[in-house]
């Protein structure tokens, strides 16, 4: 397994350790949050080989791929985080690391053009505070600004 680009072959790790606990307790990566602990809320979202998965219902021993946590996407998510602040996309902030990690994966693919499809794509990330309009508009704004910055660089 690789964690945020660094090779990590956990030796002697207990089979009953969830990826979430491994990251938080043994790697000190506390950005990944636990809320429901049963796959329903998305707070614990990390990327494995670029695909968002829930670390609370994944055993650490079975992970072979590249794991990316919120800490690993700090630079990549800078614009998205700025737009979250700009658009009021969080309040208590507990769901936010999961939302950002999910958002990073979506921005890599390109957001679905249709707002309903975008809402479906983030439906695994529950936010009890904000409603989702702020999150959707932050994602849209981030995509636009990143595209603008890219075309600026190229011209």
């Amino acid at each position: 397994m690789k964690i945020n680009g660094t090779h990590d072959d956990p030796v002697g790790i207990r089979a009953d350790t969830r990826l979430l606990d491994y990251l938080r307790d043994q790697q000190g990566l506390r950005g990944t949050k636990e809320a429901c602990g049963r796959g329903e809320c998305g707070a614990c979202t990390v990327l494995i080989d670029g695909r968002p998965v829930l670390s609370c219902i994944t055993l650490a021993v079975r992970v072979d791929g590249d794991v990316e946590t919120i800490e690993g996407v700090t630079a990549e998510s800078a614009e998205l985080r700025r737009q979250f602040a700009e658009h009021g996309a969080f309040q208590c902030g507990f769901c936010t690391p999961g939302q950002i990690v999910r958002g990073v994966a979506l921005l890599r693919q390109g957001l679905p053009a249709d707002d309903n499809a975008l809402r479906a794509a983030i439906s695994g990330n529950v936010c009890r505070c904000t409603g989702y309009s702020g999150i959707v508009s932050a994602l849209r704004a981030a995509e636009e600004n990143i595209a603008m910055a890219d075309s600026g660089e190229n011209s």
Binding site: D16, G37, R38, L54, I57, R62, S123
Partner: protein, 286 residues
């Protein structure tokens, strides 16, 4: 919210899985996507003694068309069932149903073998398997056997797998001349459906020659609505007939009452879904 202790075996070959199953029988719990099993373990509702992990076992992947059937390896993920060009090309209803499972994070892990084996009465895919009259392939050291959906899916969370057997693939017969569709109603996007319908029709010269209609979420296993199919045979699917078929379906199911919805509401949903799906299938045929 952490699982209890268990022995963990990361199997690396099919033989290794089958040998463990043969030796340890029902002490073994198979781990596929883990999207049902791990939540149950976190809540201590499941306490496996030995967990045999299928994720590194080669030979359980792959989607192909063989002998008029779509064969999907047990470890193929729901996200791939939803987007694979072979599935979307040959059985779009299956791809659509897979896209209704949970949300993207869940679909990236959920496997078709685990989903069918789990036999949740509200699950989409068992209903699609029933509509296509599909089957699963079970393998053990004793040999291999094909079991039709009707025999495999027994009731809530219960299938007819023997303790030494493994589901290696799931098969959907491709039915030329038929059109299938899946649709459902769920409280929120990504939730298990309150009711879902998979429908298939065979129409020639505007007349219904065959129909398969299966409801999920209304009983302890998928329900084949034979009364609706019978009523439709030989008729033209015009607006009045479709409306009537919705009524027949509503009367035919005896839906469950539970915390999520009343029996009456579920029956109403079945009727509405039948109207909606058949209406769309007719539009597509034009």
């Amino acid at each position: 919210m952490r699982p209890g202790a268990f022995r963990y075996l990361a199997a690396t070959s099919l033989d290794e899985v089958l040998e463990n199953l043969s030796e340890l029988g029902d002490e073994v719990t198979l781990l596929a996507g883990g999207q049902s099993l791990i939540p149950l373990m976190n809540l201590r509702l499941a306490r496996p003694e030995v967990l045999v992990d299928l994720n590194r076992v080669p030979g359980l992947a792959g989607i192909d068309l063989v002998d008029g059937e779509l064969r999907i390896g047990a470890m193929v993920r729901a996200a791939d069932v939803a987007s694979d060009p072979i599935v979307t090309g040959s059985l779009p209803a299956l791809a659509r149903a897979a896209a209704f499972i949970g949300h993207p994070q869940i679909r990236n892990r959920t496997t078709i073998g685990g989903n069918i084996s789990h036999a949740d009465p509200s699950s989409e895919l068992p209903g699609v398997l029933a509509a296509f009259e599909g089957s699963v392939t079970l393998k053990s050291l004793r040999g291999e056997r094909r079991v039709g959906w009707d025999e495999f899916i027994v009731s809530t969370f219960t299938n007819s797998r023997e303790a030494d057997e493994l589901v290696v693939d799931v098969r959907f017969p491709v039915r030329p001349g038929w059109s299938f569709a899946y649709d459902e109603v769920a409280p929120r996007h990504g939730d298990y459906p309150l009711a879902g319908i998979c429908a298939g029709v065979q129409i020639s010269d505007g007349i219904v020659r065959g129909m398969r209609l299966v409801a999920v979420g209304v009983s302890d296993r998928p329900v084949v609505l034979t009364g609706v199919a019978q009523f439709a045979l030989g008729r033209e699917l015009d607006a009045a007939t479709i409306k009537e078929l919705g009524k027949v379906g509503r009367e035919e199911v005896s839906a469950n009452d539970d915390a999520h919805a009343s029996s009456e509401y579920r029956k109403w949903l079945v009727g509405t879904l039948i109207n909606r799906i058949l209406g769309n299938l007719v539009l597509e045929q034009r």
